[in-house]
């Protein structure tokens, strides 16, 4: 049995934590074993962040924590106490879509839409990193986000449009 090496099962207590999510401070209590992803989806009803594998294999759960794109499935909510988190629900401002969101619609950069929030959050993180200069580099640095419908070319087109837009500014 795989659980044999635990003599007496631990029963942990909830921890109080405070997260700034999309600019809003949220205090809540969760047990240590709650991933940031499940915390968002099940405890805060922010279901825009998606669970595609729960193991860091697909990128659907990508959120931006303290300015960096990370996988919310591979981090615990308790580890992010005090952090500032941006999810897909907080990408647009004042009801206006972010340019990437617009570009995704214009380029038909999704079909089922399930990987989309992760793709958009990841692309925002990537643009902020400023390391991708060419389409090939964009593709490489976006490769942590799988799309099963096969919207890949449209996704990269959408990102290229916005990224070029930014460099022109």
């Amino acid at each position: 049995m795989i659980t044999e090496n635990i003599s007496t099962p631990v029963i942990s207590h909830k921890k109080k934590l405070s997260l700034t999510i999309n600019g809003e401070v949220k205090t809540l209590e969760v047990k240590p074993w709650v991933s940031l992803l499940d915390c968002l989806r099940e405890h805060l009803d922010l279901t825009g962040t998606k669970k595609g594998c729960d193991h860091g294999q697909c990128g659907a759960c990508t959120v931006i924590v303290d300015g960096k794109r990370i996988l919310s499935c591979l981090t615990l909510a308790v580890m992010k106490d005090g952090a500032s988190i941006t999810t897909i629900e907080g990408i647009g401002k004042d009801g206006e879509l972010h340019p990437l969101q617009k570009a995704f619609i214009d380029h038909d950069a999704f079909q089922c839409g399930y990987c989309t929030p992760g793709q958009i959050c990841s692309a925002i993180g990537m643009i902020a990193e400023g390391k991708a200069k060419t389409r090939t580099e964009v593709k490489e640095l976006m490769s942590g986000n799988l799309c099963r419908c096969g919207a890949n070319t449209n996704i990269i087109d959408a990102i290229m449009e916005v990224q070029e837009g930014l460099t022109n500014e």
Partner: protein
Amino acid sequence: MNDFNYTRVYSMDEALANVSLGKGHRVIAGGTNLIDLMKYFITTADELVDINPISEHQTIEELPDGRLRLGAFATNADTAYHPLVESRYPLLNRAILAGASAQIRNMATNGGNLLQRTRCYYFYDINTPCNKREPGTGCSAINGYNRTMAIMGTSEHCIAVFPSDMCVALAALDAVVNIVGPEGTRQLPFADFHRLPGNTPHIDNNLMDNELISSIDLPEKGFSSSYSYLKLRDRNSYAFALVSVATALDLEHGLIKEARIALGGLAHKPWRVQEAEDFLKGKQASKTNFEAAADLILQGAKSFEFNAFKIELAKRAIVRNCMMALDPDTQQPGAQPSL
């Protein structure tokens, strides 16, 4: 994932005190491997000790003697994109960026990269025998689907490979691992950090249970003129290596003063063969000489039912990567083959 308690620690002393409490206490840094393993019940813990609040070992610093110290708790991304890494150790930059995904590199730490577990299918399936996961149960890979498995340094107990890219470059660059433990600090040359499976495949490396990695030192020499990292895998990105090669050359008038060739995806640790590097010393940087070196590196290779291709692939990859090292600007994103 079993239930566990969670503690934040704020100093190395506090962290060491926690890990010395025994096996049920596990350190969590980036979490990218540990949480994955815990969700599969491959690893369990009574208490997770979060070392992220420790302010030390988070940075990349140049030491007075010219060495570069990579904090164990710095992320892979911060390390790869550090200006001194980009300029002086571009091989390390390339290797880190060939691993995992951008999101994972933003989370994973340098110390964690050294300590990641194998991706062997059977290790990951808790319902199949695996000596690494459950010593004494047998190795399912030896007679199983072993396309991804090792061809160097295997034992009858384990043929798993170590999955890191970063460590292949660290091995090539002769890095040194700084370790702190209850007795103080110690250093391990990179080549001595990871172990071969032998008859103890459950022990991946020579870090004791009550020790922590504090940093990794790189010697001043960074091979920034002639270097290349090549990673061959079943898709162009976000996949583990079947074969990867880190090459660093020091050239003078077309002759090789010093050569470093380390391989990933072939063994339980990054693989280097001194004899081959010695052979290249003083020779022309030519395809023929690289081929001879590749033969020396692979001479002890032993393949299994589905991975015989790795021997020839590794030879060709070494030669190609050495040629690419002569013209590092031709390297492609994702450490894909060029030229």
